[in-house]
Symmetry: D3
Subunit: 159 residues, 6 copies
């Protein structure tokens, strides 16, 4: 039966002991989106052509946040990340920017939290940079899309 592994048998929070796990190559992909007004969407999309590029700032924020994951998520193990990509696509009909983060490591635990944290930080940064125009933006659909490596094997989120 599945368990909340971050608690021990007495119900106390702990950082799970993974000492005996093997170091394996791991990868996780997370996705999310931020929806906005048509005007804001167009202004951000134009940024790809102009120099004032919201998405290049958000990409760096996502990459740097992935490295801080174990500092943000209390019971998360520290990990030496070996690669991070954060990419964006424009959903022209919904006036939304879609964020996808891919994180890799060789280690004893997976990088799901790192990929989700990178996605969240990139979305928050887009909000920060466009909030003078549009305070009603909504961040959503942040979820794990795929996960490779480790004992639990290959997970694909059948959405």
């Amino acid at each position: 039966m599945s368990e909340l592994t971050h608690f021990d048998e007495q119900g106390r929070a702990h950082m799970v002991d993974v000492s005996s796990k093997a170091d394996t190559e791991r990868e996780a992909v997370a996705r999310g989106r931020i929806s906005m007004s048509k005007e804001t969407f167009q202004r951000i999309r134009e940024g790809r052509i102009d120099k004032g590029d919201v998405l290049s700032v958000a990409r760096l924020a996502g990459i740097m946040a992935a490295k801080k994951t174990s500092d943000l998520i209390p019971l998360c193990h520290p990990l030496m990340l070996t690669g991070v990509n954060v990419d964006f696509t424009f959903d022209e009909t919904a006036f939304a920017v879609t964020i996808e983060a891919t994180v890799r490591t060789t280690g004893k635990t997976g990088v799901e939290m790192e990929a989700l944290t990178a996605t969240s930080a990139a979305a928050l940064t887009i909000y920060d940079m466009a909030k003078a125009m549009d305070k009603a933006m909504v961040i959503g659909e942040i979820r794990l899309v795929e996960k490779k490596g480790g004992k639990s094997g290959h997970f694909i989120n059948k959405e």
Copy 2:
């Protein structure tokens, strides 16, 4: 006309100069939710009674993340927070936990990003603590609900 204030007139990213702004009392409220399977939802809700309490860990993660906002969001001003609350409600029909973060400061810029960051970090922590049971949880509807203080005045998000 509204602008992307985080860029100067040459389109270069900068931390906006707020030196001449007055220090005023400010407050922001953000909300979000995390949806999950019925089994996971019930297990987390039980945690309120047992000692193994997912939400008390997530609450602390949210409060601590609020304090790190200017380290996570590249162009965000540092602020001395004077109060942070993170609360949860259970949506029994949707199998979702709703997160609400309220942040206060006395300063030259608002605390919207702090409230949104607290909400995101609390949601990510719930994901982390329950992911051994349920990898398909979805974080969503993260948005600013209300904002007081500062030049732009009282904002209420008419959802």
Copy 3:
């Protein structure tokens, strides 16, 4: 003869070169205590039953501080922790809470400092949360209890 290894032969502080050491499984256990008034002691002990639980906040503070050890202790090597536990017992006669932290890693250096840092941060957090009631609490007896792994082998502190 034993040496202060954090200084080189010219007496200059350095981070000792451990490049040639083997990665081995390591564990350290540290303990400490915080003494307080009878009233404060009883209020904290009740917290185990009520929701307002001082010790669950202190536990998280200890776990998170263990991950920050190399940032706090100037010449300490960074390490990827593989497990952290922080537990408490109530000393009913002395009106004291005893803290025990166990830290594990697979690495080139031991985790004594991580266990001692977790213990200290948990004690400081108890102080912070109860200081409105009792400013005269005393933190003490923080020491290494046991250490396994590495060249120096199994150490037990014969107290």
Copy 4:
């Protein structure tokens, strides 16, 4: 009656709202000690004359840790410190080093936690630097000695 102010009326942890408090000058003094073998004590004391000075490293660790207090103690308010001193005295009969940290700020909350954190980090750093010689050192008697400023006024710990 005194209360655990870090919990709200529902027993939920929060960062207490201090928005309406006045900014006043505040100061806190904390003390602690680390006891050790005679040999270790003498080696550290000699360091004051030689260049390899354990205490100057520990002093810096204490000062820098004071600045990280709100990152270490979950519900602690961030504060702009305006002064930090960390000093040491040698207890020749007990083979112990006594640590005293004084922290100052102008702000809405006191700096007790900053002074206690500086003291703890200085003690931990002494442990780290001498642990190759002496693993049985004990850190103790960490307590608030004096506190000035703020609503609760002048507190002196009558030890």
Copy 5:
């Protein structure tokens, strides 16, 4: 006579007490440069037109580093920055990129260290991003250019 203010009368390092100083508006400008091969210089300059823009990454690194100054420089006071700009110019004859950082705050101490730290971090980031092409780049001429506000008044570096 001028003094090393970061030491007290006994020669012990401390964070200078600035409690009694007034909060005034302050600004500092620092400059530096990184010299490189002609090929590397041209590739970076082209980046202004292509999407792969070394300088926009370096600009963010500089801005974010300014916010971390008190964490990097041991005896530096924490400050709430109210504005940061990092700009670049191309020195076509020397194959060098010139970096200029301007930092503002309202506070009790100046922002010279923040401006110098932003300049250094931006230069280091350019090195990092171009080092696969050119390991022999040299960072230099990092100095304070101008400083306003505070007791010492308006300083202009007559170079």
Copy 6:
């Protein structure tokens, strides 16, 4: 042909995937200098004899900054450092202090950035500690001197 590896084929910044690289022993040596007035130079040099030692503070700042490199440089991989040395020499004719940082690790990427960051932070700290005497100090000639380990082999900067 050499490339800016921190960008992918679409010109987007990323943290390069090094998952398939071998863990090898790596070492990097960086150097830099800070030039100052004769009076400042003499005062710092005397510090080696007195207790008020600018260089011992700068050395610790350099060592601690090396551990923060991946937090400062946006696309830099985190690494577990296994050794850091920071040393100084006095250039009596130029009134300059020369800084040399040596960093070691066993990992998938090199430690050039860590050595350069340590050198920069040590130089900035010297500036901070002497700036009350001399605001016109100049930090310069920060460059990689030598690099061992990894696919690109042994690099010596032929200056």
